[in-house]
């Protein structure tokens, strides 16, 4: 978001930065969130503006707390924003469903909740479609279809929120949040509102029934605004042979598909920006001009079902509707121009080939021979590689059939094809601990599996703590390993309550993991995963104990973060070729899998890739033949 100050400067922004900028221009004063791809850059961008514009910006411990913090600001008459990924919305929903019933009170504040979906699950465990949840929570829902629409839409969302005293949800998605383009920016308002609370009345969703009725009335009032909104646009002939109804990423994909197939004279495109309450009348009006409709959208048939409902309400069922129901567009994965082209080609009986047969054949020949996949792995110097190495050794040495549950963070890469495969069960944030607490109760049913839960430091604060308390309270037999790398690393090194720094980089209270866990009655130990031997020993000791919940904190700073701070390598690492057993051993490359340790194709001996070696020196301990030497770099 930090572009040159002069007005002629090009503001080439990420979608998420454009969302942050729009909120700033709309007069947002409080912003909160929990990092999660593809949403993290929204709060991050605002945190960089906090000082200059006198904002409160925070990384909250989880998304529910984030929406509560934003809600508080709105109750006090300010404008606020909470941002999260799709999975985070599920966490926040308990509060948000209640907030829909009460509204934001009479303080005059406005609140926008930005949710970023991840169709195709590029960086997620699922590709759940948040549009249903907006409807479920009865929150007005807007969705931009390109970066250039973000600014106006965000500002309108704040205005609507204040007018109707309800929070408004704005949906983004990977292809918007992580697209970038030159964006027009305007002035950030200088005037600030003062926070004040109305103590003369009580706000509560109880008794629910009248609140629900009032909420439905509010939605009914918003509907005509949505029907008339300029964020719904039609482009195409007066009476199209086929009407495309689309939203979000479906809009640019539809336009380009129509262009590629030269169908501009036959196809019209109705883009919906106001998703819920759904603009039924608008859709009915355009449906009357055609006999055939194709719905182009990502993941679930949300627009499609509402289109069908709208047509049924107006007795227009005779139209042919193509989309997910008809099988023309898959109901999984992200929408692409190719998918839209394929659907259009099928409907119009056209032959669409993206490239020539000759090229396709040459490509297939070469790709079959040469192309291999590039799996995800931990960075050179990553503490997690050593942590899982130690865990594997401890589990093998113990000899029993140990069951390890995992969690969400960089360490999740353990379950990928080239991970260590130690994690046997993986679900949502904090679920590793909750599941382990459950497995730890199964001894009375003759389960002979010792249980270990692994989570990262940020995840621990987000959702593992209640599960750990549950384990202690209900006397579950489990070990909790916390991989403490001093950041929310996977999403871009955001600080968390254990780091001692807040979102704006200022020092703050540091929650001490050891003290916290000890105070709960856990047996607590700390080890450095780069001290492999000691870490293995500690895990083995904990596996032998069964009296309490045991917490092992494996502490070492994320290598990318360390490199940013220290800017030098700790060691110069060298291979002593005469000692390296090459193919006969392969422990450091084949088993440990540090990307900086590769085997020479001819000699089989290991070479250090200087361009990527972090100089962490842990391979010195891994090599069984002392063939790796390390020399400390003088600072």
């Amino acid at each position: 978001m930090r572009d040159n100050k002069n007005s002629k400067a090009i503001h080439f922004l990420l979608g998420n930065e454009a969302i942050a900028r729009a909120a700033l221009e709309a007069g947002v004063q409080v912003a909160s969130g929990y990092p999660g791809t593809p949403s993290s850059e929204i709060v991050q961008a605002l945190s960089q503006e906090a000082k200059a514009h006198h904002l409160h910006v925070e990384w909250s411990t989880n998304e529910k707390v984030a929406t509560e913090v934003a809600g508080a600001a709105a109750f006090a008459g300010l404008r606020s924003l909470a941002a999260m990924k799709n999975a985070g919305l599920s966490v926040a929903l308990d509060f948000l469903t209640h907030l829909s019933y009460t509204g934001l009170g009479d303080g005059g504040g406005g609140m926008v909740v930005v949710v970023c979906d991840d169709p195709d699950a590029h960086s997620s465990g699922d590709e759940t479609d948040s549009r249903w949840l907006a409807k479920f929570a009865a929150a007005p829902l807007l969705e931009p279809s390109n970066i250039h629409e973000i600014s106006e839409m965000m500002k309108w969302a704040f205005d609507l929120s204040e007018e109707f005293k309800c929070y408004v949800m704005v949906l983004s998605y990977t292809r918007l949040s992580h697209a970038s383009s030159a964006v027009k920016v305007s002035e950030v308002p200088k005037a600030h509102r003062e926070a004040h609370l109305d103590t003369s009345q009580t706000v509560s969703p109880y008794v629910a029934r009248p609140h629900h009725a009032a909420l439905l009335e509010k939605i009914a009032q918003i509907r005509p605004r949505f029907e008339a909104s300029p964020f719904n646009k039609y482009e195409g002939p007066e009476r199209p042979e086929l009407l495309i109804v689309c939203g979000g990423s479906g809009s640019p994909c539809s336009s380009e598909a129509v262009e590629l197939l030269s169908l501009q004279d036959s196809v019209g495109i109705l883009k919906i920006g106001t998703l819920w309450p759904f603009p039924e009348k608008l859709v009915q009006d355009y449906a009357r001009r055609t006999e055939k409709i194709l719905v182009v959208e990502e993941v679930d048939p949300f627009i499609e079902i509402h289109v069908k409902e709208s047509l049924a309400d107006a007795n227009l069922e005779a139209k042919v509707i193509y989309g997910k129901g008809s099988g023309h567009i898959p109901a999984y994965g992200e929408i692409t121009t190719d998918r839209a082209c394929k659907a259009l080609a099928e409907i119009f009986h056209l032959d669409y080939q993206s490239r020539t047969v000759e090229y396709q054949q040459a490509l297939s020949e070469e790709v079959d021979k040469l192309l291999i996949d590039r799996g995800l792995t931990w960075c050179p110097g990553c503490p997690h590689r050593a942590s899982f190495w130690a865990l594997e050794r401890a589990v093998k040495a113990d000899g029993r059939d140990i069951y390890v549950t995992g969690d969400i963070g960089c360490y999740t890469l353990d379950v990928f094809p080239d991970g260590k495969g130690q994690i046997k069960l993986l679900h949502a944030m904090g679920s590793g601990t909750g599941l382990a607490a459950g497995f730890g109760q199964l001894g009375k049913f003759n389960s002979r599996h010792p249980v270990i839960a692994i989570c990262g430091d940020s995840t621990f604060f987000h959702a593992s703590i209640p599960a750990l308390i549950n384990a202690v309270y209900n006397k579950s037999n489990m070990i909790q390993i916390v991989l403490d790398n001093g950041a929310t690393a996977m999403t871009g090194f955001q600080p968390h309550p254990g780091t001692g720094f807040n979102a704006t980089g200022e020092p703050t209270n540091r929650i001490d993991l050891e003290e916290l866990c000890s105070s709960l009655g856990c047996t607590v130990a700390v080890s450095d995963p780069f001290n492999v031997r000691r870490t293995v020993k500690k895990i083995r000791e904990f596996l032998k104990e069964e009296e309490s919940v045991r917490v092992l904190i494996m502490r070492r700073t994320c290598e990318l973060l360390r490199m940013r701070q220290e800017k030098t390598r700790p060691f110069v690492v060298k291979i002593q070729e005469d000692k390296c057993r090459g193919e006969k051993c392969s422990v450091c490359s084949r088993d440990f899998r540090c990307p900086a340790l590769v085997q020479d194709l001819e000699t089989g001996k290991v070479i250090i890739k200087e361009d990527i070696c972090s100089g962490c020196g842990v391979c010195f301990d891994i090599c069984p033949f002392n063939a790796i030497s390390r020399e400390e770099v003088k600072k």
Binding site: I10, P252, S354, Y359, A362, L363, K369, R374
Partner: protein, 204 residues
């Protein structure tokens, strides 16, 4: 520069951590300043952790296109790693595509774990040549290391892209962005890296 398709679709690809996002921003800004409608699509997050990454550019004189490039519609591929050139060609290549490839291989983790074998570099080059209208191969990492650090590989490749005359950008356009991005002494080094790459493709 010759007549170009509209939209012109450019890929910057490589392995997470090679700096494709930085040069994407430089190119995006420079093209926007010249009045082009530019949209760049990226994925990041878990993809950074040793995985294949790319930025896809839609460059147009007429309007903003969506960030997703359709299959077989790539016009230019700048690749920081040779296997990644082939990966992008697989999805987006056509008989019209121009490729610029840094020859420094980065082994996927599956090669280390011996799940797969990295293809022979000569065969890979031949395949890229066969599947491109024209193809440039550079030892950009070595050039960057000669200048002081492998970290400038991306800037060497950016210079090569400008030298190949496949984008409507001049050396001055991009130098301005490099100067604005890198403060102080880093600026000079990066300008040298830029020039180094430029000479490789311009002189041929």
């Amino acid at each position: 520069m010759k007549s170009q398709p509209d939209p012109l679709n450019l890929f910057i690809c490589g392995v997470g951590g090679q700096g494709n996002i930085l040069i994407s921003r430089l190119i995006g800004r420079a093209l926007s300043k010249k009045g082009y409608f530019v949209t760049v699509g990226e994925t990041f997050g878990s993809a950074q952790r040793g995985g294949a990454v790319f930025s896809g550019f839609r460059i147009s004189k007429r309007k903003y296109y969506g960030p997703l490039i359709p299959e077989g519609q790539g016009h230019i591929i700048l690749s920081l790693e040779p296997l990644e050139t082939l990966r992008i060609l697989n999805a987006y290549g056509s008989a019209e595509v121009v490729t610029l490839t840094n020859l420094k291989s980065m082994y996927p983790v599956g090669v280390l774990s011996k799940r797969s074998v990295y293809p022979d570099l000569e065969n890979l080059k031949a395949a890229i040549q066969r599947l491109s209208k024209s193809s440039w191969f550079l030892n950009a990492t070595d050039m960057a290391m000669e200048l002081g650090s492998a970290i400038m590989t991306n800037i060497v490749m950016l210079g090569a892209l400008i030298g190949s005359n496949s984008l409507p950008l001049s050396m001055e356009d991009i130098e301005e962005e490099v100067k604005a991005t890198f403060p102080g002494p880093k600026s000079d080094l990066n300008l040298q890296a830029l020039k180094r790459g430029f000479q490789e493709t311009r002189s041929k």
